[in-house]
């Protein structure tokens, strides 16, 4: 199952500058492992050794923050879009 994953500028050193790459898997965990297989080193930038998402990394599946949908266990279906973004200050 092919899922589009959008990569933020800061992590494109791992994807040869590509803004978006394809990965396969039916959970976010599998997507992350598949990303690591093709873009070595990216996983440790996203996930702590403990298996939690890193504090300043936000991951969205179809625009919803995965911290509220099951984290790395979040299930994916064909055509879903994964967006990875660094956490930055918002607010007015």
């Amino acid at each position: 199952m092919a899922i589009e994953v959008r990569i933020p500028t800061i992590l494109r050193t791992y994807t040869d500058g590509q803004k978006s790459v394809e990965a396969s898997g039916s959970t976010l965990q599998q997507i992350v492992d598949d990303l690591e297989a093709n873009h070595s080193g990216i996983k440790e930038r996203l996930v702590e050794d403990s298996g939690e998402l890193r504090r300043f990394v936000n991951v969205y599946v179809n625009d919803e923050d995965v911290r509220f949908t099951g984290g790395l266990e979040t299930e994916l279906s064909d055509g879903d879009q994964v967006v990875i973004l660094p956490a930055v200050a918002g607010g007015c």
Binding site: T9, V88, G91
Partner: protein, 316 residues
């Protein structure tokens, strides 16, 4: 009671307005909390006034003090009004990619503006402000991202007002920036009507804003407690513009762009409730009116054109 002794006393108690045309059915209804009806035209009058009052009470803010704040606009404008009336000097650190209207308003109220680089957005403004605070230990940085008074203003004001006007409320949707609105509103509902779901809509900007030098420079506001939120959506400029225009077109409400992002999340929730066959009364926050964003070009031309014009801007 709509008579007040002075402008500061009139902060809050904003109207909650039904949206009969955008609501999908009689069972799933949307309600807009019109925060643009505050004295300076935005929801930020609540935290700004509360932060000043608390700092006065605990003695950190004394007559003649200088207040310092990193802000992309509304908080600065609210602080500027209150500072003028109370006799404080205000220095704001603003990212340079913010609309001209916001700068003009701040200058009108006598605020001194320091610009921080566009790349990095509000992260940079926070960093620069913290540096300035260290250089000027006599200045008072209220710091909306970490000041509990920010959330408290919503716990004591915004939340109770929504429940009083809409006892049947099932969902509250608000913008996630400093996280103050959502934290405060959620604390109130967790204590008084815990079944209410709290939904966050977070603006997704152009790449420039996420251009950090490394991931460890990322930023999560000190106020943020994710256990107080039930769902969090990231909304890009295209959906925000589309929805803000829809709000005007079908309900006559002229709102700022960030409200479009919040409405997008509220409509998403409404669709879920319809699908699940459940009753829902969804209150969402209209943060401000559209006046301060006219120069961004979000309200004219096609949605494609508006999206292009917002690229790289801090539109919320």
């Amino acid at each position: 009671m709509v008579r007040y002794d002075n402008l500061l006393d009139s902060v809050g108690n904003t109207p909650l307005v039904g949206l009969p045309r955008l609501s999908p059915s009689a069972d799933v209804r949307l309600w807009a909390k019109l925060e643009d009806r505050n004295p300076t035209g935005s929801i930020k009058d609540r935290p700004a006034l509360k932060m000043i009052e608390m700092a006065e009470k605990d003695g950190t803010l004394r007559p003649g003090c200088t207040i310092l704040e990193p802000t992309s606009g509304n908080t600065g404008i609210s602080l500027a009004m209150a500072a003028k009336l109370k006799g404080y000097r205000l220095v704001c650190v603003m990212p340079e990619n913010t609309s001209e209207e916001r700068r003009q308003l701040l200058r009108m109220w006598g605020t001194e503006i320091y610009s921080s680089p566009a790349a990095g957005g509000s992260n940079e403004a926070v960093r620069v402000a913290k540096q300035m605070a260290a250089e000027h230990p006599d200045w008072v940085m209220l710091y909306q991202y970490g000041n509990p008074a920010n959330a408290l203003s919503h716990e004591e004001g915004t939340g109770p007002e929504i429940l009083a006007d809409l006892p049947e409320v099932t969902h509250v949707v608000a913008g996630l920036g400093t996280t103050g609105t959502l934290m405060g509103v959620s604390r109130f509902f967790r204590a008084h009507k815990p079944e209410v779901k709290v939904v966050a809509a977070e603006p997704r900007y152009g790449e420039l804003v996420y251009g950090l030098r490394n991931l460890d420079e990322g930023f999560v506001p000190e106020l943020y407690d994710e256990t107080l939120i039930d769902a969090r959506f990231s909304v890009g400029p295209r959906d925000a513009v589309r929805r803000v225009r829809e709000l005007l077109e079908s309900e006559g409400i002229f709102a700022g762009i960030s409200t479009g992002a919040i409405l997008h999340a509220a409509l998403g929730q409404a669709a879920k409730s319809v699908k699940a066959g459940e009753k829902a009364d969804i209150a969402f926050v209209v943060c401000d009116g559209g006046w301060k964003y006219l120069s961004t070009g979000a309200y004219e031309g096609t949605v494609d054109e508006a999206e292009d014009r917002l690229e790289g801007q801090l539109w919320a």
